[in-house]
């Protein structure tokens, strides 16, 4: 079950945006503040709202964490008097919500929640935030629940997702292959003991995550999500800036892994500022792979977007513009 489309009106940086998605890999690029992570969080909240005990607006509040848990803080500052709305479509269902600057807490008006829950009841979705959190995961859920620390739900949820095991028995052939590839980088397997995460390299003693390099921890997280069955056919993965703290030489492996997951039915949303990551998708994809770039940009104060199957065909491409500006500076220095 794939996410097909989002309509956003008057929410955060968005005045009015209607965006369709690929069933495969959707890559968001754009300068800071263009709403890449906001779109992913809205989609993620909608996916989580497929569970009967999760309310769409409440989940939105928990992943955005506005002051006072008030969804009204998400109304666009430019058009504060108008109604804000979000509507998200899957193959044959949709869920929407409306709220204004007068809406209290998460009391937004929700539409089609029941149908959405019914259609997407079996949906598995995961959001990997930009900062690695497993190394600080001990007691995180309780601390957040007691308001002792402030982390949005993407951090709390990923810890939970990494701990559970919903895999159907033995590793499939594909899963084994993915795990071996990732273990080539991490040099070990992830284990969870007493709510803490460790990396176990071969027969050596386990290493607590705090002592493992952050880039390796991120790849180890991917290993764990594949191992425990979270990223199977029909799942949706959101990954905010996968390149953060990762050695550039591992980017091709991550891209290969994501393309493989897409081939096996995982819909993926990625946001990135990284030339290597963005370009490697273009280089490594096959004709049958579904990859769509979405560039969010500022057009006279309004966030707009363009999409293309090819990175180099985007007209508004801040990654490429930065890359070329560097080359121009390099040449100008010697000429």
């Amino acid at each position: 079950m794939a996410l097909k489309k989002i309509d956003i009106k008057n929410v955060t940086v968005f005045e009015n945006i209607n965006m369709e998605f690929s069933d495969g890999i959707n890559i968001f690029i754009g300068e800071n503040g263009m709403g890449k992570t906001h779109i992913m969080k809205l989609l993620y909240a909608a996916c989580k709202a497929a569970k009967a005990d999760v309310s769409f607006p409440q989940k939105v509040v928990r992943v955005f964490r506005p002051d006072g848990s008030n969804i009204r803080r998400l109304v666009s500052r430019k058009r504060a008097g108008e109604t804000a709305s979000v509507k998200i479509y899957s193959d044959d269902a949709n869920i929407g919500m409306k709220f204004t600057t007068k809406t209290n807490k998460w009391a937004a008006q929700v539409t089609n929640e029941a149908t959405w829950e019914k259609q997407l009841a079996d949906l598995s979705c995961t959001f990997i935030p930009a900062k690695e959190i497993l190394s600080n995961s001990w007691n995180l859920e309780a601390a957040v629940g007691s308001n002792n620390v402030e982390f949005d739900d993407t951090y709390v949820d990923i810890v939970m997702a990494a701990k559970i095991d919903i895999s159907a028995g033995r590793d499939t052939h594909d899963r084994k292959r993915y795990l071996e590839i990732l273990q080539g980088i991490t040099a070990g397997k992830v284990t969870v003991e007493q709510e803490r995460f460790y990396l176990k390299p071969g027969t050596q003693a386990k290493i607590e995550f705090n002592l493992v390099a952050e880039g390796i921890r991120k790849i180890a997280l991917l290993w764990q999500l594949i191992k425990n069955g979270t990223l199977e056919n029909g799942a949706i993965l959101f990954w905010d800036e996968p390149e953060a703290n990762i050695n550039p030489k591992h980017i091709p492996t991550i891209v290969d892994m994501l393309l493989e997951l897409q081939r096996n039915g995982v819909q993926i949303f990625v946001s990135t500022h990284d030339y290597f990551l963005a370009k490697y998708f273009e280089v490594k994809k096959k004709d049958t792979d579904k990859v769509r770039y979405c560039s969010l940009y500022d057009n006279k104060g309004a966030v707009e977007y363009e999409q293309s199957a090819n990175f180099r065909e985007l007209q508004n491409n801040e990654i490429m513009e930065t890359f070329l500006a560097l080359y121009e500076s390099e040449i100008d220095k010697v000429m």
């Binding site: 280089v283 180099r312 490429m320 890359f323 070329l324 080359y327 121009e328 040449i331 010697v334 000429m335």
Partner: protein, 172 residues
């Protein structure tokens, strides 16, 4: 004034005294076959009024590394050899290794080598700018020691960039 057309790009006009048309000179005939040279060598002033010597090679296309690594590597070798051999010939002429009526612009002949900035310039007609950095990196890697010894550098431009640096006036 000197003007020449290479790979559908019109180079110049430049002062004749700043130019050596190495490819068309009789030096190639004197030295023999299998010598590889650039189109021409020129002298000019840089932005900070520093003296520059540019070894200019023009191309209308390049092989793509993804399509044929062998052809790409051959291309890098070819261009590197053109730069290096042109540089060597220039010095051989400056130090009168050949008794010949070679017409090298007098400003080029008179260069004070402790002050000059040496640049090996490859200009490719019609290339997208994003294709240029990998070419530059490959050439710099291939000529690394040479560039270090002579404190020189490589520049890879497309026709648009070459126009902005007034190396070409128009394209055909």
């Amino acid at each position: 004034m000197y003007k020449t057309i290479e790979s559908n790009m019109i180079f110049g006009p430049f002062e004749e005294t700043d130019i050596f048309e190495i490819e068309k000179s009789n030096v190639n005939q004197m030295i023999g076959q299998h010598i590889r040279t650039v189109e021409f060598i020129m002298r000019r002033e840089g932005k900070q009024q520093e003296e520059q010597i540019l070894f200019i090679e023009a191309k209308s296309s390049t092989p793509r590394q993804q399509t044929s690594k062998i052809r790409y590597d051959e291309f890098i070798t070819e261009i590197s050899e053109k730069f290096i051999q042109s540089f060597e010939i220039y010095h051989a002429l400056k130090y009168n290794r050949y008794r010949t009526d070679v017409t090298m612009g007098e400003h080029l002949m008179k260069q004070e080598w402790d002050k000059v900035h040496i640049k090996f310039v490859l200009i490719i007609h019609g290339h997208k700018m994003e294709w240029l950095p990998p070419l530059r990196e490959a050439l710099m890697k291939n000529m690394n020691i040479y560039l270090k010894i002579w404190k020189s550098t490589i520049v890879v431009l497309n026709d648009e960039m070459a126009k902005s640096y007034k190396l070409i006036s128009e394209t055909i």
